[in-house]
Structure formats: structure tokens, C-alpha cells
């Protein structure tokens, strides 16, 4: 199980800064995306610790090592999943490569009582919420639609339809308000979404709802610069964090490859939400290092040079550099983490390959709270239909009841049986 490294250091939380300064776009021109003065950073790409006046962060060596461990292990999970997809064990995989710091930093900022609403790429946050990575593999293998219990992990199911979850997060936060569950040690919500998602109506509606109801929700946008093949400029003329101001709440841009900055800024925003200051938008400025998913081919639409530039800002390497530089970890620590990553990889590999397909009739479960005449009838008919192949395979005689025929109708010999596709071996032709 992942070690809890964040979330417990309430003493380091800070009140968020006032509203972001007026957009430089006032003159009509969007400010340079990623202009350094906008970017909140606590750890440089070279692994140097820097201070930010609004986000002081005291972090112990052991917490730092914990964050590093998280980063390495989720990256390993991701590498393993990509390999499993290549080997045909997964249908598809959406890699988080490059976004580890944004996810671990924000994920570790959450308290156990906070609720998270992910997209389909939040494997690092899932890790922080104690969801077994195997559950994620299940989903991408096609065994489940996301088999974890959202309430148990305080981590909602993955949402694939872009942007929808931001409204769910906002509504959940409105529930927290009604329950009076905010305040010191109270609850808050975090909604994850991408740069592309900011164009969806749902996301804009979530901003409005959260704003006018002052809902305790943090909008955490991982701006990885791409929505499949479309660059950020196709979604926005201004830096995304500046959108928040128009909706009436603060927005800030954080170096999304800096786990410490993501941790500090998310903590502050969650705390503000708990304290009744309403929503915050955090734009984690990062980069999708890999393809959109394993079926995507980014060479068709982006330049290799960008990738090289972002490699120098790797979210894992800079923590390692800082650990070494500050004497917070020695070689044996790194060896240990590498060994643990190897063990995790091996476990996922083996368990994924051994993962059985769900039972056919399980498809008919959990559609309604109780029995349902149509679903139940279809399930029973399909069960009889499947059995008919077993019968034919076992003893080759006896006309089975019709799959969906009228009750009491005499069964008729089936072509498929006549052609000897007994057992569970259906012809499988002509799909």
C-alpha cells in the first residue's frame, strides 16, 4: 500500500493569495503562455529549492522521500501498463508520463476526508487514494468500467466523457456545504480535468455553479498542452488560470512538474475551500510526454523538439536531484525504491495476465436497484441460450429452449448446433 506522505501537515497550510492580478490581456494581447513570473515554483528543474512568498512549505526529509517514492512507483505502473497494452493484455492505456508531479502533489494534498473526481488519466491520484493499480488495469483491459468503491477511497470513478465530472464535483461540494461539513478539518472536493476540457459547456457551468454557490471545490486543470492532436491555442487565447477570474474566483498557475509546488498550492486551495472561501482554479502547467493513449500517433501533429525541451523539466528527476543535493537520501534509498518499483511492475504484470474475464451474465447486474422485468427476462433467456451450447456439446441431443422464443414454444434444432459448435465454443464468425 502506498505510504501516506502528504495530507497530514496541516501546519504548513497557508491562506491563499488574493485574486490573481488583472490579466495582462487587458491590452488585448494574451500574455506569453508560461511566462515565468506567473508560474508558482518551489523546486526548479535542476532540483534547487526556491521559496515563494505566498506558498511557504516546510517539508521533512521523510515526506520528501515519500513523494519521490510515489512518483517513481506511479511512473513504473504507467510503463508497465503501456507494455501490457503492447502485449495485447490491455485494450488501451492513457499514459500519465510527465504528469506525475501534478497528480502526486495534488493527490497528497488531499486529506482522507476530501473527495476527488478524476478524468481517465489520474492514475497518480488513484494511487494516493489507495486504489489498487490493478483496478485501473481492469478498466483498460475491458473487465470493468471501474470497479472500485468511490466512497471507500473518496475517489470517484474515472470519467471518460470530457468535463462531466466537474459538475459532479461541484454538486458534491454543495452537499458538503449543506451538511455543514466544512471548517477546520472539514471536507473539500477536487475536480480534475484537462486543458481541452475547459472548452466543454459542463466545465464552464461547473465554474458558474461553484462560484455563485461558493462551493468548497478546487478545480485542478492539468494543462498538458494537448487535447489529443489539438494544441492549447485551439482551446484558449489566454492562460487558462486567468479564466477563473472571469467566473469570480481565484486562479493560479503552478509548475505542474514540481511536486512541491503542486502540493503547496493545492493544500492552500483546499484549505480556502474548507474555510468558506469558495472555489479555486489551479492550472498545473505540464506536458503530456507520451501519446494521448496507446492508440495515438503524436508524430502526426507535434514536433519532437518540444518533447526534448520538456524532458529537461522532468518531474521525477528534479526531486531525486534535490534529495541528493540536500543529503536527504542516499544510494541505498534509491536502490530500495527501484527494487520496489520492479516488484510492483512484476505484480501488475502477473496479475493482469491472470485476470479472468467477467462471467457473461454479470453484464446484467447492477443496472437497477432491484429486479427488473426486462433485464431479468433477457438475462434468463441468454442464460438458457448459453446452456443450449453446453447441452449440445455434452450429449449432442435435446433441443434447448429458444433463447428468446415465446414461453412454451417447442424448441427447434439450431443451425449452430447442427454444425457442431458445442460446448461454449460459439462460432465466433462474422463479427
Amino acid at each position: 500500500m502506498p505510504v501516506e506522505t502528504g495530507g497530514s501537515s496541516a501546519a504548513h497550510e497557508v491562506i491563499p493569495p488574493p485574486l490573481a492580478s488583472a490579466p495582462a490581456a487587458a491590452a488585448g494581447l494574451p500574455p506569453e503562455a508560461g511566462a515565468p513570473e506567473e508560474l508558482i515554483q518551489l523546486l526548479t528543474p535542476e532540483g534547487e529549492r526556491v521559496d515563494h512568498p505566498d506558498y511557504p512549505l516546510d517539508i521533512s526529509a521523510s515526506e520528501l522521500r515519500g513523494l519521490y517514492r510515489d512518483l517513481v512507483l506511479v511512473r513504473r505502473m504507467d510503463t508497465e501498463a503501456i507494455a501490457l497494452q503492447r502485449q495485447g493484455e490491455l485494450g488501451i492505456w492513457a499514459s500519465l508520463l510527465g504528469q506525475e508531479a501534478a497528480q502526486i502533489g495534488s493527490g497528497r494534498a488531499l486529506g482522507p476526508q476530501d473527495m476527488a473526481f478524476p478524468t481517465y488519466r489520474e492514475h497518480g491520484v488513484a494511487w494516493c487514494r489507495g486504489v489498487d493499480p490493478l483496478k485501473l488495469l481492469e478498466l483498460f483491459r475491458g473487465v470493468s468500467h471501474g470497479g472500485w468503491d468511490p466512497a471507500e477511497h473518496k475517489f470517484h470513478l474515472y470519467t471518460i466523457v470530457i468535463g462531466s465530472q466537474t459538475l459532479h464535483a461541484t454538486g458534491y461540494a454543495m452537499g458538503i456545504q449543506r451538511d455543514g461539513a466544512t471548517g477546520d478539518g472539514g471536507e473539500a472536493v477536487i475536480a480534475y480535468f484537462g486543458d481541452g476540457a475547459t472548452s466543454q459547456g459542463d466545465v464552464n457551468e461547473a465554474f458558474i455553479w461553484a462560484s455563485v454557490f461558493n462551493a468548497p471545490v478546487v478545480f485542478f486543470c492539468q494543462n498538458n498542452q494537448w487535447a489529443i492532436s489539438e494544441p492549447l491555442e485551439r482551446q484558449s487565447r489566454i492562460p487558462l488560470y486567468q479564466r477563473a477570474r472571469g467566473f469570480g474566483f481565484p486562479g493560479m498557475r503552478v509548475d505542474g512538474n514540481d511536486v512541491l509546488a503542486c502540493l503547496a498550492v493545492t493544500r492552500a486551495a483546499l484549505r480556502a475551500a474548507r474555510e468558506g472561501q469558495g472555489p479555486t482554479m489551479i492550472e498545473a502547467f505540464t506536458y503530456r510526454m507520451g501519446a494521448h493513449t496507446t492508440t495515438d500517433d503524436p508524430t502526426r501533429y507535434r514536433l519532437a523538439g518540444d518533447l526534448e525541451a520538456w524532458k529537461l523539466r522532468d518531474p521525477v528527476e528534479r526531486v531525486k536531484a534535490y534529495l541528493v543535493r540536500s543529503g536527504s537520501a542516499d544510494a541505498s534509498f534509491f536502490d530500495e525504491i527501484d527494487a520496489e518499483a520492479a516488484r510492483l511492475g512484476a505484480r501488475l504484470r502477473e496479475a493482469c495476465r491472470a485476470m479472468p474475464d467477467p462471467a457473461p451474465l454479470s453484464a446484467f447486474e447492477h443496472i437497477y436497484a432491484g429486479p427488473h422485468p426486462v433485464v431479468d427476462a433477457e438475462r434468463d433467456a441468454y442464460a438458457a441460450y448459453l446452456d443450449s451450447f453446453d447441452d449440445a456439446g455434452r450429449d449432442g441431443h435435446g433441443a434447448p429452449p429458444s433463447a428468446a422464443g415465446p414461453p412454451g414454444e417447442p424448441g427447434v434444432p439450431r443451425v449452430a448446433q447442427a454444425r457442431g459448435t458445442g460446448g461454449f465454443g460459439r462460432t465466433g464468425e462474422a463479427r
Binding site: 485494450g91 488501451i92 481517465y120 478498466l139 483491459r141 475491458g142 473487465v143 470493468s144 468500467h145 471518460i160 466523457v161 470530457i162 481541452g196 476540457a197 472548452s199 466543454q200 459547456g201 459542463d202 487535447a227 489529443i228 492532436s229 489539438e230 485551439r234 482551446q235 492508440t295 502526426r300 501533429y301 474475464d357 467477467p358 457473461p360 454479470s362 453484464a363 446484467f364 443496472i367 426486462v374 433485464v375 433477457e378 438475462r379 441468454y382 441460450y385 429458444s402 433463447a403 428468446a404 422464443g405 414454444e409 424448441g411 427447434v412 434444432p413 439450431r414 443451425v415 449452430a416 447442427a418 454444425r419 459448435t421 460459439r426 462460432t427 465466433g428 464468425e429 462474422a430 463479427r431
Partner: protein
């Protein structure tokens, strides 16, 4: 004749439409440099420019809503919805705006918008990538709804849809995108079978088997298998789901006396229900058996490891054919 995948035939049809009419636009997510996630628009932006082949912001309501505005201004937008399960954010624009504008304006406003939707399952995808929502649109007055099943039809039908002065929801059988067929890319769409006509793709005398989109291939395989058992199956590719080509359908059923409809969408309140009702009304005295339906179950599309159970296959179609002889 050139051997093309269905995806390529779509691409050639779109290319032809862009060439033929400068008012034709293509818009959608990732349709530009990437050429769409299925490469249907591959190379089109390069050849026709960014103002005719438009990568839109990520919002389906925006895609359809702005297509309506462009159509009001005289353009003929062709919208790509990336996957079936992502059309719902545009539902208001399609059902309440696009479908009704002609009626509301008492005929003065035409909206020649095409909405292309890759639909159906069988590709091992995650949630929302395998759905068959066609009946939601077939149920909506003011929309024409079609589904192609082969490369040659993909090539001509998309051109016909674009020339239609009504909105057309154009379903593409995504699991057949890679199927190859000979396509005559010099053929004139104007001379092809009209967009609202069904096509008999196998002649037979004992049962009329109706299918569309990805299920046509399954239906043809079922007809071939049934022939070995001495049964003669007539297969009709519906092509147009709204309106239905009832002349062809009923004409066939009156001869065969039996009718089976198959689609991937759930059977409950599906297109098969509409067809069964109409066939019953029009062919009542010719029917030897009730119209039977073979389709998806009344459940959400299941995780892909279960989709082979959900999707009607050869055996389930043959089973239904058998049952029509049990009456």
C-alpha cells in the same frame, strides 16, 4: 475500381464533396493534422486548408451549434463526432435546434448539416466508444438518419448526405472501417441508389433478414450459413433508418412471409420495434411468424471483455431464423 478500406472510401467521398462545392466544410475534434482518430479526414486539411477543414475546440454542443450558424450563412458543414458516446453534449443542438428549424421557419430556413458518427462496438474499446444511439435520432422528426455498411456506399452516401437540404445523421460502422472493397471513385453520387433507399444485398425466398451498418456483414454470413441448411434468406441493408424504405421491406416480407431484424442497439424500443410494427401492419396476411428481433440487451454497453456476448453474432441471428420456422 480501386480496392479501398471503408475508412478510405469515406475519405474519398469527403474529398469529392469538398472539391464539388466550396461551401462544404468539415469540422470536429482532431480532424485536421491528425486526420481524425480513425483517419477519415486524413490529408483533407492539408489539401483544402484550415478554414475548410476545421479543428474545433473540444465541445460537441459547440460543434453542432456553430454548424447551424454556418448553415444559416449558406455553408454545408459536415461535423465529425469522435465517438458515438460523445454526441450527447450536442443533443440539444441536434434535437431542439437542428431538427426543428425548417418547421419553425415554415420552410424558409434549410439546415444542410451532416453529423458523422462512428458507431457500434466490437473494437475492444473502453466505455462510451461502442454505442448505437441511432434510434434517438430516428425518433426525432426533421432529421434524416442513415448508416452505411460498405466502402462503395460510404463513398456515395456521404456525398449524397452532404447534398441533402435536410440535416442528416450519418452513422459509420466503426468496426468495419478496415474492411476492404472495390470502390469506383469515379462513380457519380447523383446516379447512385438514392440515399433513402434500402438495398437488397442477398436474394432469398424463405426469410427477410434486415440489417444496417456493421450488422450487414453478419447478416450476409448468416444467409450463407443458412443456405447450407437449405434455407434461402433475403438480406436487405436498410441504409436509411429514417425514413425507412418500407416499399422494399414490405415487398420482400410479402414474398418470404418471415422477417428478422438485427441491430447492435438494444432491442427494447429499438429500430426493430418500429420495423416490426410497420411490417405487421403492412404484411399481416403474408406473415408466417411474428417479426423477430436480434440485438443488444437492455443494459449499458458492457466492458469490452463481454462485448461478444452483447453483440448479436452469427449464431444468435441463425437462432432467430430458426425460431421463425417454429411457428
Amino acid at each position: 475500381m480501386t480496392t479501398l478500406t471503408l475508412a478510405r472510401a469515406m475519405n474519398e467521398g469527403l474529398r469529392r464533396a469538398l472539391e464539388d462545392d466550396p461551401k462544404v466544410l468539415i469540422m470536429g475534434e482532431d480532424v485536421g493534422k491528425l486526420g481524425g482518430v480513425f483517419r477519415i479526414t486524413d490529408g483533407l486539411q492539408k489539401d483544402f486548408g484550415e478554414s475548410r477543414v476545421v479543428d474545433t475546440p473540444l465541445a460537441e454542443s459547440g460543434i453542432v451549434g456553430t454548424a447551424i450558424g454556418l448553415a444559416l450563412r449558406g455553408y454545408r458543414p459536415v461535423c465529425e463526432i469522435q465517438f458515438d458516446g460523445f454526441v450527447y453534449p450536442a443533443f440539444n443542438q441536434i434535437v431542439s435546434q437542428l431538427a426543428k428549424m425548417r418547421y419553425r421557419s415554415r420552410g424558409s430556413v434549410a439546415l444542410p448539416v451532416v453529423i458523422r458518427i462512428p458507431f457500434g462496438g466490437g473494437i475492444g474499446a473502453v466505455e462510451h466508444h461502442s454505442e448505437s444511439p441511432e434510434v434517438l435520432f430516428a425518433h426525432t422528426a426533421g432529421l434524416r438518419v442513415v448508416a452505411c455498411s460498405s466502402g462503395p456506399d460510404a463513398f456515395t452516401m456521404i456525398q449524397q448526405a452532404i447534398r441533402t437540404d435536410d440535416p442528416v445523421i450519418f452513422f459509420e460502422p466503426k468496426r468495419r472501417y478496415w474492411d476492404k472493397a472495390d470502390v469506383d471513385t469515379t462513380a457519380s453520387a447523383a446516379d447512385a441508389l438514392p440515399l433513402d433507399a434500402a438495398r437488397t444485398v442477398a436474394e432469398g425466398t424463405d426469410v427477410t433478414l434486415l440489417a444496417y451498418g456493421p450488422m450487414v456483414k453478419v447478416a450476409l454470413a448468416a444467409a450463407a450459413a443458412a443456405r447450407q441448411d437449405g434455407r434461402s434468406i433475403e438480406v436487405i441493408d436498410l441504409r436509411s433508418l429514417s425514413p425507412l424504405d418500407m416499399n422494399r421491406i414490405s415487398g420482400s416480407v410479402r414474398r418470404t412471409g418471415r422477417c428478422v431484424v438485427t441491430h447492435e442497439a438494444p432491442v427494447s424500443s429499438g429500430l426493430g420495434a418500429e420495423i416490426a410494427a410497420r411490417v405487421t401492419e403492412e404484411c399481416f396476411y403474408s406473415l408466417e411468424a411474428p417479426v423477430l428481433r436480434v440485438g443488444g440487451f437492455s443494459i449499458p454497453y458492457p466492458p469490452s471483455r463481454l462485448e461478444e456476448h452483447y453483440l448479436p453474432d452469427l449464431d444468435r441471428v441463425l437462432d432467430a431464423i430458426d425460431r421463425t420456422f417454429g411457428y
